[in-house]
Amino acid sequence: MKLSLMLSPRALMVSCVAAAWLANAGGTAAADSVLKNRSIGYVLTDEYWAVYQTAEGKDECPQGLIKMGPREQFRELFPEDGTKRTVVETQLMREGQIWHPSPDYKEQFPYPEAGGKYSYGVNLDGTVGPNDFTSPDGEKGIKNQLYRALGCNEHFRGPDGVQFALTNKMVRIVPYNRLLIELTNVDDLGNDPDVNVSIERGLDTLLTDGTGDLIIPGGTQRVDTRFGKKYTQRLHGKIVDGVLMTDQTDIRIMHTQNDNPSEEVYRRGTFRLKVSAEGAQGILAGYNDIDSLYYGMNRNLGTYFQAYGRLTSQSLYKKMRELADGFPDPKTGKNTAISSAMTMMFKQVFIERPGKDKNKEATAH
């Protein structure tokens, strides 16, 4: 199994700095010294939808990026031509469409899909079909239909897309978004056929360097148990050539932006993370329930923010319904979920559980 490492400009800079640090550090952070009791913990530091990007979308969006956002559509729908219209007929009608979306919504504006050969993601069902992508590493059968729906929208593209930038910012500054994963039963971070992975919620702020901007490994995170067992998940997986691959199962992630919590459920989800002593990075892939995904997006960033990225929610909803490729409704037969991949980056942390001895470490320097 191959994994492409998706690096944003910031991630590239972070990696370069980390490399420089390691070169200077004289071997301060060897992998073995971080594996304590055959375990290692990580905390989420970056999170954004995995969008395969070429310059200006030349390969994946040859027709150009989406130009008709909420403001542009509103101007077209309701031109200032002297016609008298009420708020109910205009703004509230549009907001109503956002909050009560319908698969039967008639899209009047062009909403180009991302295409091309490549995308990040995982072959979630082991098949290779005509709608699948190939990963940049050459793996075929990549399922990521969500990428088609949002790949040509500036809102989701890095480094300046509002969703891209704000999601990351909120992951870093809001402890509610603190996601921990811990690998246990690890013999070798390079290859291990049998490892356990737990997903927890964390409590603490992230440890940074002197600039306050760069998150560094070695911090401590206390496990936050206040949200119940639903968010303490136990997975099983393996490590192959330094890449953690978890068995597919439903994975729940909580997230908030602007104090509006939402839950993302990756059905038949799986992590594909390149793991090391300093951190982990890769993707969380699975089938996202479209309705919960959509409500979460709108709760986190309303029309005001979406307008900057020319994202019209009802257009995106319509597109996601069209591209849905998993979990058909037993009654209608229509798919309710869409294959997706979220880029995630983690930094190594020590994880402290309530009631455990705080001072049991044996190999400190």
Partner: protein, 569 residues
């Protein structure tokens, strides 16, 4: 505004008078010790007398440090009045800023700084949220002056602020100012605030002027008077001004009896406020004021941030309080103990989990043992981007053994160090340049062999096995004692007589409010012996010094000398 302007002029005039007195007072200070390194700085305790010799210290005029001033505000008005202010740095004398406080000058800029701080504190204290419980009376009319209420409040507060020396004239003057301002501003509390500002910026509050009286037990000699003794005790043990009980002990004369002083000292040693006093002393002795300007290259030392620096200082102070006050351990064990505390930022340096401040004991095979291997010592005495065996060795000699190391010659050629041969991997190899250059070797041989033992820790205090790929040799020696690594260095230091005699010297200087002098040698040797017999317990040493004759006896100052050095030892 006119009112404030007048007060400011009055303040400047008073401060100038005090400053002149200060200069004259310090003209009489003895010359500092020479800068030569001397192993005799650690006088063997066996030479010391078993009975306290005649001793004493000069009367000092010293300025309150920032922390003492803020502690005073917190004591009088409550812990929530914590202002973020740093007064002008004090000169370091005889290894201590506290001793430099007796040599400090006073500028117009500083006056303004004190005045601003006093104004802010007075404003907060008279804030509508606090006045209900801070002011011990209610005015008949909140929109007018009330002399009775103002007298009641200012009398209580002023007594503490003036450390017992609030005369009727001073109180009347403050009440007059409060009344005048209240009538003008039609606000009793604004008037009170105005008078309080004046008190808080008064030279009599900012300067501790020690005064004396004839000593009935030693005819012909002087001893400190009761208020001066009270101030010395509270600044030594609490880093603050005397509380009401101590002032009462002074006023009743009890403090001037052996029994009364013992009772007062024992009460102060048992108080939780002792921690503030001990923290302040070690913060001063260990040169932690340098943390204010400590910075590391964030590319080289990613794990080191401003939070790390702050926590490193706190870690050492917590360790000291825990070992010396809570567990009442031998002072020397500070240099070998594996017990400490970690914060999340320090956990990243140590490579262990730490949520909040967490007690931590390093394992027996860990290279970390004692204060020398804590981040505060390692990072503070390193360069921004690399470790420095020289700075570490120098710090150990000067701060912990009271052995001054001379500065480098003015004409020293640093080029070989600044632009080293890239094939040289380790600090040990780089410093070979010093050891082969006779101009440098004299001093470097007394610093580098010590500092090289700490080379397993980089400039941020992180452990490392290698330096630029080359294995690190951490062996070294301290005054003919050989060791293989940092832990053994700590063990060697623990057994050095200079370690304990240095602490005695620093505590004595700190307690008596000024630099020690050669004439103090006999007294210091006596306290060395006492300290040893006490099992090197700090609270016992503090008690012995606070109850000694030397603590209260005024020593005549020899002929004026202007050669006193203000530089670091």
């Amino acid at each position: 505004m006119r009112h404030r302007g007048e007060k400011y002029k009055w303040f400047v005039g008073s401060a100038a008078a005090i400053a002149v007195s200060l200069v004259l007072s310090n003209c009489a200070q003895p010359a500092s010790k020479t800068a030569a390194v001397s192993k005799d700085a650690a006088a063997p305790s066996s030479r010391a007398a078993l009975v306290e010799p005649d001793g004493g210290a000069p009367k000092h005029l010293r300025i309150l440090t920032s922390e003492q001033y803020l502690n005073t505000l917190a004591y009088v008005f409550g812990d929530d009045i914590r202002l973020q202010t740093d007064f002008a740095p004090l000169p370091r004398a005889d290894g201590l800023l506290a001793s430099g406080a007796a040599l400090a000058g006073f500028t117009g800029g500083q006056i303004e700084q004190y005045y601003r701080t006093g104004t802010a504190a007075a404003g907060l204290a008279m804030d509508a949220r606090r006045r209900e419980f801070l002011i011990n009376c209610k005015p008949a009319d909140a929109r007018a002056a009330d002399r009775a209420c103002a007298t009641k409040f200012l009398g209580v507060v002023g007594r503490i602020l003036y450390r017992g020396r609030l005369t009727d004239a001073l109180l009347t003057d403050s009440v007059n100012k409060a009344s005048e301002a209240a009538d003008r501003l039609k606000d009793f509390y604004a008037g009170l605030s105005s008078a309080l500002e004046g008190m808080l910026a008064s030279p009599a509050v900012l300067f501790v002027a020690e005064t004396s009286e004839p000593d009935p037990a030693q005819p012909g000699r002087e001893r400190l008077d009761a208020y001066s003794v009270a101030s010395r005790l509270s600044l030594l043990l609490w880093n603050s001004v005397p509380d009401d009980a101590l002032l009462r002990a002074g006023e009743s004369g009890e403090l001037m009896t052996d029994k009364g002083r013992a009772a007062a000292v024992d009460r102060m040693l048992a108080s939780p406020r002792l921690e503030a006093g001990v923290r302040a002393f070690f913060d001063d002795m260990l040169g932690f004021d340098q943390f204010a300007t400590l910075a590391k290259d964030s590319i080289i030392y990613q794990s080191f941030s401003a939070v790390t620096a702050q926590d490193a200082r706190e870690q050492t102070l917590r360790t000291i309080v825990d070992q010396l006050l809570v567990k009442k351990r031998d002072y020397r064990d500070l240099y070998t103990t594996r017990e400490t505390f970690l914060s999340p930022a320090l956990g990243a340096i140590y490579g262990v989990k730490a949520s909040g401040w967490t007690p931590y004991t390093s394992p027996k095979d860990s290279p970390r043992a004692g204060l020398l291997t804590q981040v505060s010592f390692l990072a503070l005495h390193s360069h921004a981007g690399r470790s420095s065996p020289t700075l570490r060795g120098k710090a150990l000699r000067e701060l912990l053994m009271c052995q001054p190391v001379p500065p480098p010659p003015a004409n020293v050629d640093f080029s070989a160090l600044e632009n080293p041969d890239p094939n040289i991997k380790t600090q040990r190899a780089r410093l070979e340049i010093h050891r082969t250059n006779p101009v440098c070797a004299g001093c470097h041989k007394i610093t580098d062999p010590i500092g090289l033992a700490l080379e397993h820790f980089d400039g941020a205090g992180q452990y490392r096995e290698t330096e630029r790929g080359a294995p690190i040799d951490a062996s070294g020696s301290l005054d003919n004692q050989q060791f293989a690594d940092a832990a053994e260095l700590g063990a060697s230091l623990r057994n050095m007589p200079a370690l304990t005699s240095c602490l005695v010297k620093r505590v004595y200087g700190y307690a008596t409010g000024g630099p020690t002098a050669p004439v103090d040698q006999a007294v210091l040797a006596y306290f060395d012996n006492v300290f040893a017999r006490q099992g090197y317990r700090l609270p016992d040493l503090l008690r012995s010094i606070a109850l000694s004759k030397s603590f209260v006896t005024v020593r005549d100052v020899p002929a004026p000398s202007r050669t006193a050095s203000l530089s670091a030892p």
